[in-house]
């Protein structure tokens, strides 16, 4: 079928995906942080810590966090760039961005800018940022290739892209456990804690539809990045891709 794309395991009109994704995140925004901690047993914090450590970001740098949601990465980047740097927390979804704003205020983090944007169209000049990150966001973007090209365009030479995303595990045992967990427990917990089984079903399904490590690496290189490497975390359940623009 032309002009269709996947939304979890469903095929939907390409034009509809964005609003379907928006509905999901409108619905989960209020409980997003709590659910993240519960569903990943807190591991998402470690994956994010690993991402920050891999970022090569320093004092004075300009960083854009795309699909930044409640701002976990932006908070850490803000510490790294200091007052002479700039961190922009961006998301397509106003409700998630609002949660981000609240979270940063609650944690006493100031100096981060907020922009509502779609990863496919980044409203910045060429060669603006030293680092662009996207954590658990890319799989929700309708045209991922377009988003990657945009990131390449706005990165400075010597800049890097970090993609933290669920991926594919090689271990048969881990895969079995993980499948059981995703399609039985996650949905149920989504229903019990967030009163929203359907959204958590989408989140679990969208993980399975996301390109595996090598495919995503190929997409990053196709978007003109000079180098791309990835590292598996938690046995490949999550992978961190790093793209470099020379």
């Amino acid at each position: 079928m032309e002009n269709t794309t996947h939304f979890g395991f469903k095929q939907v009109a390409t034009n509809d995906k964005q609003s379907l994704v928006r509905d999901v995140f409108n619905s989960v925004a209020g409980k997003y942080d709590l659910m993240n901690d519960v569903l990943s047993f807190g591991a998402h914090r470690l994956w994010k810590r690993y991402t920050i450590a891999s970022s090569n970001v320093k004092d004075g740098d300009k960083v854009l966090d795309i699909a930044g949601g409640t701002g976990d990465l932006a908070i850490e980047f803000r510490k790294k760039v200091g007052d002479s740097g700039q961190v922009i927390l961006s998301d397509i979804n106003a409700a998630m961005l609002n949660e981000g704003r609240k979270n940063l205020i609650n944690k006493g983090v100031f100096g981060v800018e907020f922009i509502q944007l779609n990863a496919e169209y980044l409203p910045f000049d060429n060669s603006t940022f030293d680092c662009v990150s996207i954590a658990f966001g890319l799989r929700n973007v309708t045209d991922k290739d377009q988003a990657l090209k945009e990131v390449y365009r706005i990165l400075k030479p010597g800049g890097c892209l970090l993609i933290l995303e669920f991926s594919t595990t090689d271990s048969a045992l881990l895969k079995k456990l993980y499948d059981f967990y995703s399609f039985n427990i996650i949905q149920k917990l989504g229903g019990i804690i967030a009163d929203d089984e359907a959204s958590y079903q989408y989140l679990a399904e969208s993980i399975r539809k996301h390109p595996d490590q090598e495919t995503l690496k190929g997409m990053v290189l196709d978007a003109s990045f000079d180098f791309c490497e990835y590292h598996n975390l938690s046995g490949g359940i999550v992978a961190l891709h790093k793209g470099i623009k020379v």
């Binding site: 047993f41 807190g42 591991a43 470690l46 994956w47 810590r49 690993y50 920050i52 450590a53 891999s54 090569n56 320093k58 004092d59 400075k156 030479p157 010597g158 800049g159 890097c160 090689d170 271990s171 881990l174 290189l221 000079d226 180098f227 791309c228 490497e229 590292h231 598996n232 975390l233 938690s234 046995g235 490949g236 790093k242 470099i244 623009k245 020379v246």
Partner: protein
């Protein structure tokens, strides 16, 4: 997943950070290296990294899809002697090091590596497959930028937890070596 990939990646992150700290602090300039990719491998260890220099930054990658400008190959003991001030051209003359490409560029990289404030010698010399799990506990605690200063028991427990969540398969080894 390659064995010990996470371990080595942690070390490359630490090395990358240390090199970039040097550049940011103005202790060294790398403008002559800009745009260059240097392959560096220790032949007796599974250590094969690429240094990519761009716009006053260095990235340390485990593999690249592009040809390198210079390739340096040597044994770990030779590397240690380089860090101790042994002359690169002398080692080259003695065939203890192989350099494909511009020797000056190789020399610049070696000079940079000598300056970094982490113990490369310890990483190189302590390595054997058997002690990796132990190193995960010790070296990462020593160098891990996210908890470099910690000696307290809570951090040690956190370290173990990190090992479990980041890499469940190696956690077993970690537990064993630390018990």
């Amino acid at each position: 997943m390659q064995p010990f990939a996470i371990f080595w990646h942690k070390q490359t992150i630490i090395l990358e950070q240390a090199l970039n700290r040097l550049i940011t602090n103005g202790e060294v300039g790398i403008s002559v290296l800009n745009g260059k990719t240097i392959g560096f491998s220790l032949q007796d260890l599974p250590l094969d990294v690429h240094f990519v220099c761009a716009n006053e930054r260095i990235f340390v990658l485990s593999a690249t899809n592009k040809p390198t400008d210079v390739d340096i190959k040597l044994k770990s003991m030779v590397f240690i002697s380089l860090l101790h001030g042994e002359d690169l051209t002398e080692l080259l003359r003695q065939d203890k090091i192989s350099i494909h490409g511009d020797v000056k560029t190789a020399q610049l990289l070696v000079d940079l590596l000598k300056e970094v404030d982490i113990d490369l010698e310890e990483i190189a010399s302590k390595y054997t497959g058997d002690i990796i799990a132990n190193q995960l506990g010790k070296l990462t605690k020593k160098f891990n930028p996210t908890n470099m200063e910690s000696n307290n028991p809570l951090e040690i427990i956190k370290d173990g937890l990190t090992a479990l969540l980041i890499n469940p398969i190696k956690f077993e080894q970690y537990k064993h070596k630390n018990s």
